[in-house]
Amino acid sequence: MKITIERAALLRSLGHVQSVVERRNTIPILSNVLLRAENGELALTATDMDLEIVESVPAEIARPGSATAPAHTLYDIARKLPDGSQVELDATGDLLTLRSGRSQFKLGTLPVEDFPAMSGGDMGHRFALSAADLKMLIDRTKFAISTEETRYYLNGIYVHASKTKAGGADVPVLRAVATDGHRLARVEMPLPDGASGIPGVIVPRKTVLEVRKLLDEAADRIEVQLSETKVRFTFDSITLTSKLIDGTFPDYERVIPTGNDKVMEVDPKLFAAAVDRVATISTEKSRAVKLSLDRNVLTLSANSPEAGSATEELEVSYGAAALEIGFNSRYLLDITQQIEGDGARFTMADAGSPTIVRDVADGSALYVLMPMRV
């Protein structure tokens, strides 16, 4: 293999694929990126055996072929080369020679045959959605993904087709749900064409975060393919294929309370700023903030034996019986930061039961938050 490619293009693609490669690998080949040059394109592949990213970039190909080389080293080299330079990659035997200007690097390679390939092929289900919608689904749920290994089936976003009531009719929706037992986020959007028969799948956290990174510079349409065990996202010239979490997501609907009757409406930006201020005092580990509600006045307070105390009053809309309820301030901020409208609606029962938070103007997202003792 011998190719010439622009440094900027190489850097950009390596940047995308290298983040899949774990820094410490017990299997040497997994530290490498697979380079395959043919038909005027260089394809770069990186994998951790659960997640694979393939990206193609135009390149000038002098001699088609393929090689594998250490991904992080190659990325670091590309990063340090001067802007605007041309890079020549020349693989012969078990050596990859990189030349650019007056720099020359020789890197050890590993056999291409050893590079684990994720089986391709058709996955059965195929639909498309806009980058903005996918971004929305991820951003509004990813903070609630659990990192607890014992409940591994919570270590991702549960994506499935469902129905929601709108104006007396059942409207099909695509739903994304994540929970860690302390909070739950459920977001939905109109079901895209082709997604009606999809199985409910749990997309792992690492995959979610990689997809999210790529979305910032992605074209508008993302194609999603799905099987019982795998998911594939295709953007422009990037294909990301991932295994799914093999587990059963809990029946989350049971967790969403239906009888809560105490309703508070508040400006989410003012609320978040006040929570953030008051939480300065709460202990680092608990981050507890108390909400005291009485007749359109919300008093936020925090106490810590070491730091002192803080209170702040906020005008809200609240007409139910007086209530005191405590929350983890981080969780409150995570949720209210996702509310774009100028009203957040908290629907509460009591200090020991889950609270529902929604955007007054936008019914697509619903958050459930467990209170804490304060």
Binding site: E148, E149, T150, R151, G181, V255, K285, M370, R373
Partner: protein, 441 residues
Amino acid sequence: MHPVDVSAARPEAHEPDGLCRDCGAAVPADTRRCPACRSGRVLHHPELHGLAIAHLDCDAFYASVEKRDRPELADKPVIVGGGQRGVVSACCYVARMYGVRSAMPMFKALAACPDAVVIRPDMRKYAAVGRQVRALMEAVTPLVEPLSIDEAFLDLSGTETLHGGSPARTLVLLARRIETEIGVTASIGLSHNKFLAKVASDLDKPRGLAVIGRAETLDFLAAKPVGLIWGVGKALRAKLEADGLRAIGQLRETDPALLVARYGSMGHRLAEFARGEDRRTVTPNAPAKSISAETTFARDLRALSDLEAQLWPLCEEVAGRLKKAGLAGAGVTLKLKSADFKLRTRSAKLSSPTQLADRLFRTGRDLLRAEADGTPYRLIGIGCGELVDGGRADPPDLLDPGLARRAQVEKAIDAVRDRLGAAAIAKGRGLGVKPRRQRDD
């Protein structure tokens, strides 16, 4: 605050008062019997009141605890250890007169002392007593560095004003307190650094107080074997002996640079210790990073149900200690030792800190399932780490509505036990090796 004048406690030009090892009273120089309690166990030493680094070591600890609990054994040779495993964990001083030593194979010990009373070790009991001893040590100085459940270094520098007397006197009173309040005896070594304090505590066992002063340090060490030095084990001792170095005095005469060249970083320590120097400070352990309990089985176990039955009481113990300490932890570690002494540890992280035996057990059991593969095990243990304030323990979980109820059940059981004792009530899974009823809650 006024700085404490430590120099006041330094040795004076004239011989200071001696000390009664029984009652801690001052004994005038050249007096052989304590004027206060008439005891003959009087200690005179020119530096007695100027030394502050101590090593306290309980005497024949496991055996002493057993004798305390069974006074009829007081004058009998007692050996703790054995079972099928066959080594002496501890032996009382009566048994030692017959030649029994700890770590001796049981059949040898019984050949030497056929009348010995052999008792199975009850590590949980010894650990509990060890904690009581530690609490008394910590009442004397915050600088307590535990080495094991029954021994620790103490630094009593600057405690003269607080305790109204020299460290030596404070230590005598501490030893008496351990004896009267807990019912076991301890021996103390007092010197000017940790190495020598530890050496000294062995000089006057049992119920001893021995002192190694600065002035006598070099003479004391000269003829002692190199194996006395902390860190010199069998292998290094053999190497030193092969190099012609048997006595500490010989080490001192060897060029330190040569020792370093030949024995690496250990050479430094050899050179320093040979001169009676030890710069290590007494450093109290950081607050507990984890709380754990383990048990060795009488015979190896393989079946999941048998292992689970052993696991549950350990979870209860860890939970009990967490609750008592006002702590909770989200890290759970299962420890297993197979019959061929291979250690397996498996960890999991909970979504929130716990102090419930129930959650520890469920997590431990999940970890155990994968390990109960037919391997025979000799030991199981469970630990809880990532400790935080107990007020944050076991918050309600959206996905586990039964958690709050189970927490209440455990609280109720704790309350009954507080009033009626630990045996008053037990969960089904705590009742021996009976297969546990499967409950899905």
